[in-house]
Symmetry: C2
Subunit: 86 residues, 2 copies
């Protein structure tokens, strides 16, 4: 059965204030990095799934949207790469 490595990118929606990003931005400014702006902090989750591509993609979407993110507040992007056997 093919094996896949997936990456799930989870970011707060643009319309929602990101206090963690604001805190990091303030710290960077105090350290002299005054040209840095619009900092946003999200999650990157990697996982391995096994199965046929269509089934794996469907499971990944379900997991990403129902478990790994909050669809009310967060946007999700998915990557899926088949792991090539050596």
């Amino acid at each position: 059965m093919p094996e896949f490595r997936a990456v799930v990118h989870v970011m707060l929606r643009r319309s929602i204030l990101d206090p963690q990003g604001r805190a990091v931005e303030g710290t960077l400014h105090r350290l002299g990095h005054v040209g840095v702006g619009d900092v946003r902090v999200g999650k990157r989750i990697e996982l391995t799934l096994t199965g046929e591509r269509d089934a794996v993609l469907a499971e990944l979407k379900q997991v990403a949207e129902r478990v790994l993110s909050n669809p009310v507040m967060e946007d999700v992007e998915l990557e899926l790469h088949e792991i090539q056997e050596a």
Copy 2:
């Protein structure tokens, strides 16, 4: 001056146990997603920088390695995209 959107991906090094990833994996298994494995949870940080590309890339590297990650425990990958004016 050109403006860039950068993405900093921060993951725990492979050799370091990821308890957050293990917890997520356990939850997924209990929910019936038994084919999911090797879950790792990291950060995705987006920021905007202004300046010439070489200077921006140097500043981004410095910020990513000294402020946004812990080089002892974490690996960092960088993306840098010039923002095209409309």
